[in-house]
Symmetry: C2
Subunit: 536 residues, 2 copies
C-alpha cells in the first residue's frame, strides 16, 4: 500500500462553508473527507453547520428569492455561463482535489468538469429559448354570449428556495453545481446545497466558482449557499425549513425516503425529487446472444466495472433465456470478471456496504456465484461479482431486486421468453431498461416494450445504460422506487420544470403584465395563444 | 315546507354502478341520495361496492390500460366528443335529476352540462394538437468526439389507471365526467370514479353516457368504471389499490389530506391531485373603494351568494384599509347580505357543517358580525354571513383562515397598506387572489403582485374569483393547502399533464419507435429537435 498523496500545495482550501457570500467556519463538530485509498483524513478540517447557520442560509435564500426570480432570463443565463467559466478555469484544481477525495480516475474527473460546465451552458440556452415560461394567452372575448370572457394569461414561476443534496459518485456533475443546482438556478430558485461529506474540498472549490460568478453577474446575496453538515441533523433541518420549497437529491434509497418523509410531514409539504436506486435490467434476447454472445459479454463487463460500478445506471441485472448461447455469454463474462483487478470505491463506508451486500447475495440459497474479481488492495477496495439465479426464484423473492452499489450483477436465467416477461413484470421501477437484439428479436422486443416503458424512465436498445447524455431528450428518472417522482428527470433540459409552477393572471392591467406575457412578446419566446402554439 | 317532488317518470334509473360495461348492483350496504330541500331520500336505492367489486374495477382498468393508451389520439378525441354528445342528448334528464339531488338551480345545471361537454371537446382538441406528447428528438451524432452520441427520443406516456373522486358542488363539471376524468381519459389513463353520494342518480346517468360513448368508439372494456361507495371504505381501498397510479380529487381539506396520506403510505406512493380549500382573498385597494365602493359591494355579494356560496373560489376573505370609503362598502354590502334570503345547500350535512363553522366564527372574541342573511327555509338552508376582524387579530390567529364552505366572508380591516401586505404575507396557499384597483392603485398593486402570485394559482384584477373559465391559460390550483400539488391545475388544458410522465428511448430501432417519435412525424405534432421547437 502506498502512502496518501500529500495535499498538493497549489490548492488552498479554507475549510469553510458559505452562507451567501460569507465564508463561514461552522460552529458544529469537526469533520474531514478522507483519501479512500488509504483512509487517511485530509486537510483541511471542516465544521458542521449549527442549526442557526442552516436557518441563516435559508433566510438569505428566501430574502434573495424575489430579486433573483425577477432577473431577466438573459442575466441568469450569464450567471450560469459564468459559473461554467470559473469551473473550467479551476479544472486542474478540481480534478486534483476530486481525485484525492474520491479515488475516481483523473480522466473521468476531467470529463466530469466538461459535463458539469456543458450542463450549465445548456440551461443558459434553455433560459434564452424560453419555452420554460409556459406562456399561454387566452385573449378576452368581451362580446361572447352568454358571458364575456376575461383576458387570461399563464406563465410558470419558480417555486422558491431549493435544497440540493449532492451525490458521492459524481462529485461535480451531481453535486454542488450539478444538474439539480443548475436547473434550480435556471428556474429562478435560490439554492442551498448540503455538501457531501465525502468530497468537502471539492465542494468548497465549486462553491467558490459559483459565488465568484454570482458576484461577477450581480446576483443577490443568498442566491447560493453551501452548508457543511450531516444527513440526519443538517439535512433534516434543511428539508424541514419552511423557506425551502423543493428538494433535489441523488443518493441511497434509505436517505431519499427519509427526506421524502421529512418533506411530507412539514406543515406545508413540498416536492422531493430524489433519485434513489435502480438495478437497470438488461435483456439479452436470443437472437442477440446467438449473434454476438462474446461481444455482449465484453461490453457488459466494461459497463459493469466502469467507475467501480458506482453508477445509478450500472447494469445490475441481466435477463436472458438459458441455452448454449447464454452459456457462451456467461463463460466469457465470468472470465472477464474473474480477471478484473477491482478498483477503489468512493469511501471506506461505501466499500464496506458493498462488501456486506455482496456477501448477503452470495450466501442466498438460490444464488450461485459465477465469477468474482480480485479486490483492489486499498482501504476502499471493490471487487466485481457476477451471480446467477433461476427466473422462478427471482420472481419469488423481491429482495433479490435490491441494488448492490458497486460492480455486482445478477443474471436471471429464464426457461423461455414467457418467463422473461414474467421477470420484467415482477420488476419494480427503474431508471433504465435495456434490450439487446438481433433483427430476429424485434417482434419479441415489440411485445416487451410496453412492459419496459411502464417500469423505466429510459429504454435502450443495443447500448449500455452507463453514460447519461445531457441533452433535451434525456430522462434520468423513472417510477418509484427508482425515484420519488416519476413525472420528471434530473438530467436534461426538462429538469427545469421540477422547480416551476403555473400561475394564471386574469384581466391584469397591461402595465402589470410580466414580460413573458406582454402583448409584444419582448422575450421573443414560444407562446400558446388560444391553444395554438406560436414560435417566438 | 313542500313535499319532495316525485321522481319524474321520464328518468329511469337502475340503482347500479358500472364495473366496466357491466351494470352491477353493489353487494354492500344500501344508500340513497336525498332531496336537500326536504331531506327526503330519493329512489332508487344504491348499494356500496364491496371490496371485491372495487378490486374488480381496478383490475379491469389495468387490463384495459395498454390497449387504451395504444389507441390513436384521434380515437380518444372521438371518444371524448362522443361522451359530450351523449351528455348533451341527456341534458334535460341530467338537469332534472341534478336539480332534485343538489338543489342547484335549473339554469345553473343547464350551463354546467355545457361546461362539461365543452371541457370534453377541449381535451379532444388538445389530443389532436399533440403538444401533450412532449416529443423531443436529439438525433444521433455518430462522429462526435470523444464519444459518439446515440439517438435519443422522448415522449410522455400515461401513468396508468386513475381514481377520480367527484365533488358535491359541481355534480357534472367536477364529477363523473368532469375535468379530472376528461383529462385522465385524454392522457390515455383508464378511470375509476367513486360517485359522490350526494348525487348518485346523476352519476349513474353520466356513467351511462360515458359507457355508451366507449361502446360507440370501441374502447376496451374497463376504460371507465363507476363505483358507489363511501369515503373511508371504498375511497381508501381505491386509493390504495396497487393498480391505481394517480388520484384526482375535489372536496374538503380533511378528505383530501386523508387521501394524500393513503397515497403516500402505499408500497408505491402515487401522485394525488387534491383540490381542497381556499378562502380566495380579495383586496379592495383604496382608489377602487374611493371610486366605486357601492358597486364593489354589489358585485361582492353577488359573487359571495352565487350557488349558496358553494364554490371553491368563493370570496371568503376581504382585505382593505379602514376609512370612510371602506365604511361605505361595508354598509352597502351589509345591507345586501342582511336582505339575502338564503338558498338550499347541497346536502343537509353540508348545511350543518356550514352552520357550525359560522357559529364558531361569530363567537370568536375578535370577530364582529356585520350582517347575516335569512336562512332559507329548507332542511339544508344556508344563510349569508359577513363578519369583520382587525388586521392584527387576523395575523395572530391562523384559525381565522379556515374556509367556511358557504356564503360567508370575513373582512380584514387594516390600518394601512403596510398592514395589507402583512395580512397577505400571513396567508396560506390559495386558489385565487383578487385585487380591485383604480389607476391610482397600480403602484401599490405592483408591489403586492409578487406576494400574491406566490400564494395563489390565479391572480385576478377587477374581476371576481367565482367563475372558472375552461381554457388554455386557466390555472385552477395553487400552493398547499389550496391543493396537494401546486405544480398543476385541475381545470384547463394543462390539466392533462397531471397524468403523464416522460420516457426516453435510446437507439430504438426505427420499426419500434412510437408514432409521435417517428422520423416522418405521422401525427403532425409539435416536437423539440435538438432543443429547437418545431411546429407539426
Amino acid at each position: 500500500m502506498t502512502a496518501a498523496p500529500a495535499q498538493a500545495p497549489a490548492i488552498r482550501l479554507a475549510g469553510t462553508m458559505f452562507i451567501g457570500s460569507d465564508a463561514v467556519t461552522g460552529t458544529g463538530p469537526r469533520i474531514r473527507s478522507c483519501d479512500p485509498r488509504t483512509g487517511d483524513e485530509l486537510d483541511p478540517a471542516y465544521h458542521l453547520a449549527s442549526s442557526a447557520e442552516v436557518t441563516r442560509a435559508c433566510r438569505l435564500a428566501e430574502d434573495a428569492f424575489d430579486a433573483y426570480r425577477d432577473t431577466h432570463p438573459e442575466q441568469r443565463a450569464r450567471f450560469l455561463e459564468r459559473i461554467a467559466h470559473h469551473l473550467t478555469r479551476a479544472t486542474d484544481t478540481l480534478v486534483e482535489r476530486g481525485h484525492l477525495e474520491t479515488g475516481l480516475p483523473v480522466a473521468r474527473l476531467t470529463g466530469e468538469v466538461g459535463r458539469t460546465t456543458g450542463q450549465l451552458r445548456m440551461f443558459a440556452e434553455v433560459l434564452r429559448e424560453g419555452s420554460w415560461h409556459g406562456a399561454r394567452i387566452d385573449p378576452a372575448q368581451p362580446d361572447r354570449a352568454p358571458l364575456p370572457r376575461a383576458d387570461m394569461r399563464q406563465r410558470k414561476i419558480p417555486l422558491g428556495p431549493v435544497a440540493v443534496f449532492g451525490a458521492s459518485n459524481f462529485p461535480l456533475a451531481f453535486s454542488v453545481a450539478g444538474g439539480d443546482t443548475a436547473s434550480a438556478l435556471a428556474a429562478g430558485c435560490p439554492v442551498v446545497v448540503k455538501a457531501h461529506e465525502a468530497h468537502l474540498g471539492t465542494s468548497e472549490l465549486v462553491a467558490r466558482a459559483v459565488l465568484a460568478a454570482a458576484t461577477d453577474t450581480n446576483m443577490p446575496n443568498g442566491v447560493f449557499s453551501l452548508l457543511v453538515g450531516d444527513g440526519h441533523g443538517t439535512g433534516t433541518q434543511l428539508a424541514g425549513d419552511p423557506r425551502i420549497q423543493a428538494i433535489g437529491f441523488t443518493g441511497s434509497r434509505t436517505a431519499g425516503l427519509a427526506l421524502a418523509r421529512t418533506a411530507a410531514q412539514r406543515v406545508q409539504p413540498i416536492p422531493v425529487y430524489a433519485e434513489m436506486s435502480s438495478v437497470n435490467p438488461v435483456l439479452l434476447m436470443p437472437g442477440a446472444l446467438a449473434d454476438r454472445a462474446r461481444q455482449l459479454a465484453d461490453e457488459f463487463v466494461d459497463s459493469l466495472t466502469l467507475g467501480a460500478g458506482q453508477f445509478c445506471t450500472n447494469p445490475g441485472l441481466l435477463i436472458a433465456v438459458e441455452g448454449s448461447d447464454l452459456d457462451t455469454f456467461t463463460a466469457a463474462a465470468a472470465q472477464r470478471v474473474d480477471s478484473d483487478s477491482g478498483a477503489t470505491m468512493l469511501t471506506p463506508r461505501i466499500a464496506q456496504s458493498y462488501r456486506l451486500e455482496t456477501e448477503a447475495v452470495t450466501t442466498h440459497p438460490k444464488i450461485q456465484v459465477l465469477a468474482r474479481g480480485t479486490r483492489a488492495e486499498t482501504v476502499s477496495g471493490g471487487q466485481a461479482l457476477l451471480v446467477v439465479v433461476q427466473g422462478d426464484d427471482f420472481c419469488a423473492d423481491p429482495g433479490l431486486q435490491r441494488e448492490m452499489f458497486g460492480a455486482a450483477s445478477l443474471l436471471v436465467r429464464c426457461r423461455d421468453l414467457d418467463q422473461v416477461s414474467d421477470v420484467v413484470r415482477a420488476l419494480e421501477g427503474q431508471l433504465t431498461a435495456t434490450v439487446h437484439t438481433a433483427d430476429t428479436d424485434l417482434d419479441d422486443a415489440r411485445a416487451l416494450l410496453p412492459l419496459l416503458e411502464r417500469r423505466a424512465g429510459r429504454v435502450l436498445f443495443n447500448n449500455w445504460p452507463t453514460g447519461v447524455e445531457v441533452g433535451h431528450a434525456m430522462v434520468h428518472g423513472g417510477p418509484y422506487p427508482a425515484t420519488s417522482d416519476a413525472r420528471t428527470t434530473s438530467v436534461g433540459s426538462l429538469a427545469i420544470e421540477r422547480f416551476l409552477r403555473p400561475v394564471a393572471y386574469q384581466n391584469l392591467p397591461e402595465t402589470l403584465l410580466p414580460p413573458p406575457l406582454q402583448d409584444d412578446n419582448p422575450y421573443g419566446i414560444p407562446r400558446r395563444v388560444d391553444g395554438a402554439l406560436t414560435l417566438g
